[in-house]
Symmetry: C2
Subunit: 195 residues, 2 copies
C-alpha cells in the first residue's frame, strides 16, 4: 500500500504528542480517488471473506466505509454517538473512551441493522489505542454478527491497539502502519510489510 | 426521482411530530446502491455546473457526499461540529441550531480546504427548517467559495427551509419532496415535480 504511505509522507503533518494530521485528504477534506484505491486494496485482501455489510463509526469513518462498500457491493451501518437516552430505539450500546476529547461516548447500533446473519467488515480511518475498534467489536459481538475482518487506513504501530486486536485473532489489514514519527524533523517511519 | 420516493414509501416510517424515519437506508444503515443512483441523478441535474468540491456536514451527510463525489470526480469537505475551542486551526465557523438535540452547535471548516477558487456543490440527507444548510451556505460565503448548487435527498416541503433557500436564488435539487405525512395511516404525499 505504498501510495497511502507516499501520500502521508507528502501531505501528513507530524505534531508534538504523536499527532499525525491528515485532514487534507482523510478526515476533513476527503480525497475520494484515494479512498477508491484503498477500497480496491481491501477488496483484494478480503476477497476470500463473505462480507455482507460494512460497519464503521461516525464521523470520519463514514466516507471511507461508503466508498469501500461501493467496491464490496454491500450496505454500511455506522455506529452513532448517542447524545441522549433514546427510548425510541432498541439498540446495542457500549462506552468508548475518546482521548482526543477526554470523555466517554455511548455508542449505539440499532438491533434492526446488525444481527446473527451478518458477516461484517469493520472499516475505520485510524487505529491507535484501539478504543473505538474495541467498541465496534463489542457491538458486533452483542449482535451475534461475525467479524470477517478489519480494514484500517492508518495504524499507529507504536500504540497498543493493533497488537491487542491481532492477539485476539482478528484479521486486521492496516494500509499504512506508522512505526515512529518525529515532530521536530517531520520524519515518518513506516512498518515494513509484505504487500 | 421516483425510485427514492418508492423507497421512502416502502421503508420510511412516519411518526408523530412530522418525524420521518429512514434509518434503514439513509442515515444509520446506508444503501450504497441507492446512494449511487442518487449521485448519478445529481450529476445529471448539475451537469452544466463547474463543481470542483462537494461540501457537507457531519455525520449523516458524509456517506451520500462521498458517493456523489465519486460520480463528480471531486473531493469532499465536511464541516465539523466543534467540541472544543481549537486553537490549532484557522477555521471558518458558524452556529447551527439543532432542533433534534435542542442545542446550538459551532460548526467549522478549515480555511485550508475552502476558498475563493472553489465551486461547491452542497450535499445533505435532509432539508427541513434549513438551519444546517444555512450554516453551510454561510461557511461557503465566508470562504468566498461559489455555491453551484445544493443537492438534498429528502426535503420536508411543509417546512420553510426549501422555500427560503430557493427565494435566495439557489439552485436546490431535492430528490424527494414530502408534501405531507400522516402518522396515523403512514401515508406520505410527495410534491409533483417535472423530472
Amino acid at each position: 500500500m505504498r501510495f497511502l504511505e507516499e501520500r502521508i509522507r507528502r501531505d501528513g503533518i507530524v505534531r508534538e504528542g504523536n499527532v499525525l494530521k491528515v485532514d487534507s485528504f482523510l478526515n476533513h477534506q476527503m480525497d475520494i480517488e484515494l479512498f477508491t484505491e484503498m477500497a480496491k486494496e481491501w477488496k483484494r485482501r478480503f476477497a476470500d471473506r463473505p462480507v455482507n455489510k460494512i460497519l464503521t463509526i461516525e464521523a470520519s469513518g463514514i466516507g471511507i466505509a461508503a466508498i469501500a462498500a461501493r467496491e464490496f457491493g454491500v450496505p454500511v451501518v455506522f455506529a452513532k454517538k448517542s447524545k441522549s437516552i433514546n427510548l425510541d430505539y432498541d439498540n446495542y450500546s457500549t462506552q468508548i473512551r475518546s482521548f482526543t476529547h477526554n470523555r466517554n461516548y455511548e455508542v449505539i447500533v440499532s438491533k434492526k441493522f446488525l444481527g446473527t446473519g451478518d458477516h461484517v467488515l469493520i472499516i475505520d480511518d485510524f487505529l491507535a489505542n484501539g478504543c473505538a475498534l474495541m467498541g465496534l467489536l463489542e457491538l458486533a459481538e452483542k449482535a451475534g454478527a461475525a467479524v470477517e475482518g478489519i480494514g484500517i487506513a492508518i495504524e499507529k504501530g507504536f500504540q497498543e491497539g493493533g497488537r491487542t486486536i491481532r492477539e485476539q485473532g482478528h484479521r486486521l489489514e492496516s494500509l499504512a502502519i506508522v512505526e515512529s514519527m518525529d515532530a521536530a524533523t517531520g520524519e515518518i517511519v513506516f512498518r515494513q510489510t509484505d504487500c
